[in-house]
Amino acid sequence: MMKRLNDALYCEALKVMHSKIVWITILAFLIVPFVGGFFMLILKDPEAARSYGLIGAKAQLTMGTADWISYFEFLAQAVSIGGLFIFGFVSSWVFGREHSDRTVKDLLALPISRAHIVGAKFITIFLWCILLSAIVLTIGLWVGEMAALPGWSRELVSQGCEMFAICSILTIALSSPVAFFACIGRGYLAPLGFVVFTLVLANIIAVTGYGEFFPWAVPALYSQIGGEGNALPGSISYILVVLTSFAGLIGTFCWWRYADHS
């Protein structure tokens, strides 16, 4: 049982490691800490911030002051919102490419359960997204250090990393419905459309004040995007994220098992 899952994982790893997509996602996500660090540098020097005009004003709006707390919040917000897109893209690629490259038929009549293949794909997505998050966090800490941000403490870093990790996990969990849409849409277009749709809807619903009931708005709410005065989402929000994630997982497993692959 485990051996067959490992075999499927080996194949997924082979595909990922030989693809340029993994580097593209790393490069795309690496923008986050550098942009964050850039804003922090602007905030540290108000004169320079004024000379930057709109960019400085925007940085002021989202991060407030140039310190480690604001910087961690920025990273958590970036992984909550940018992650929806990047992790959704990873999910679209892992499942959608089998249809776009028309290789899915090679995976359907093999002496290995389709559940193992789907399971291996989800594990790959999870590990890939965790790796992206870890890279962003590691580079983020280095950029923060280079920017000589004030307010460093072991406790603060621990809290900041924890917030970042929870936002990452919540966002990664929400990529399973994207996989389902990649399957039913048989390619990239439907899942990417779904990602953009959920991103827009999450923003609108969060503004109306019902964000805690919309799973795709929950990671951003957890990252305190509305300001520190805002209450953290309640347990119903996390339950909804878990249910959405399971729905995506079960839908994808069932699609591979029962749908017509014509």
């Binding site: 080996y10 082979l14 030989h18 090679d106 009549a109 017509d260 692959h261 014509s262």
Partner: protein, 312 residues
């Protein structure tokens, strides 16, 4: 048990479209079953049902007595397949693509990949990315994936696509060898009818989703229409002489004199003698046998109409 592939009233409907309708067939061990039909006749739908990729609307398919379903993956251990144009992971080399299939098939023999690369003459492309292969070599890679685990059942959809004439002969020889010497059962679809006539031991003709006819290759000789074609200096007189002698002589649509009598086809020299004696010597005598393509079109024309009405 001799029966390896077996379908019972295999049916697939997409809404009102009848892609396959009550197809019942069986293929015995070591047999090469040629499945022929026009584009959209239902060949690929049937093959996908045989491979558990599509769930039948009704009916069932069995491989070595085991019912095929998406969840019964053990049944594929001894099945090799190729469906339509073979695609591979473009960023992986030929060797990596095969290694991946080897892993997914649970093949422990480390030499299997090298062996199949050599067998299908892909040695010089082993480290070329699949995305850079020509259509012919991509087809070879597809066949390599199908043959990698030395299957006892092969289900191939248009395996000669993209191959050059030498490649077609090579694959035909390989498949014939597998069937004759290794007892591999082969279910193969194609629209290259001449190729199927040379390869298959039995043929199934599918049209509009219906299996119209099954023919043993050995019976085909009897079923194919034959006629004796004649040319003389005086066509009208020759027809009259032959009719007087009791032959069913006529002139076909292209203005060529033809005789359909079995006796005349068997002994064209008797016709020549008759015409020479009547001072109307033939300038050309030729026995023409209907090819599979013509036979296929004739069968579709003869029986397809009835089925078209049934569909309506």
């Amino acid at each position: 048990m001799n029966e390896v592939i077996h379908t019972v009233n295999l049916t697939k409907h997409y809404g009102k479209v009848k892609a396959a309708e009550q197809i019942s067939l069986s293929v015995n061990k070591g047999e090469i079953y040629g499945f022929i039909g026009l584009n959209g006749a239902g060949k690929t739908t049937t093959i996908r049902m045989l491979l558990g990729m599509i769930r039948p609307t009704s009916g069932a398919a069995y491989l070595k007595g085991e019912k095929i379903s998406g969840g019964n993956h053990h049944v594929w251990a001894k099945v090799g397949y190729l469906v339509e144009i073979p695609y591979a992971y473009p960023e992986l080399t030929v060797r990596q693509n095969l290694s991946m299939i080897s892993k997914l098939r649970g093949i422990s023999d480390k030499q299997a990949v090298l062996r199949i690369i050599s067998q299908l003459h892909l040695d010089s492309y082993a480290d070329v990315k699949a995305g850079h292969l020509s259509l012919g070599n991509a087809q070879r890679l597809g066949l390599a994936k199908a043959l990698l685990h030395q299957p006892s059942i092969l289900i191939l959809d248009e395996p000669a696509n993209g191959l050059d004439p030498a490649g077609i002969v090579e694959i035909r020889t390989l498949l014939q060898d597998l069937a004759a010497n290794s007892g591999v059962t082969i279910f193969i679809s194609s629209h290259i009818l001449g190729e199927m006539a040379k390869l298959a031991s039995r043929l199934g003709i599918i049209h509009n989703g219906y299996l119209l006819q099954e023919v043993d290759a050995s019976q085909l000789e009897v079923l194919l229409c034959k006629r004796l074609l004649l040319k003389t200096t005086d066509r009208e007189r020759a027809v009259s002489i032959l009719k007087e002698a009791g032959y069913r002589a006529g002139i076909d649509g292209e203005g060529v004199m033809e005789i359909h009598d079995a006796e005349a086809i068997k002994h064209p020299e008797a016709i020549a003698r008759l015409l020479v004696h009547a001072d109307c010597p033939p300038t050309q005598l030729k026995v023409e046998e209907e090819d599979l393509e013509s036979y296929f079109l004739r069968v579709i024309k003869e029986t397809g109409g009835n089925y078209d009405e049934k569909v309506k």
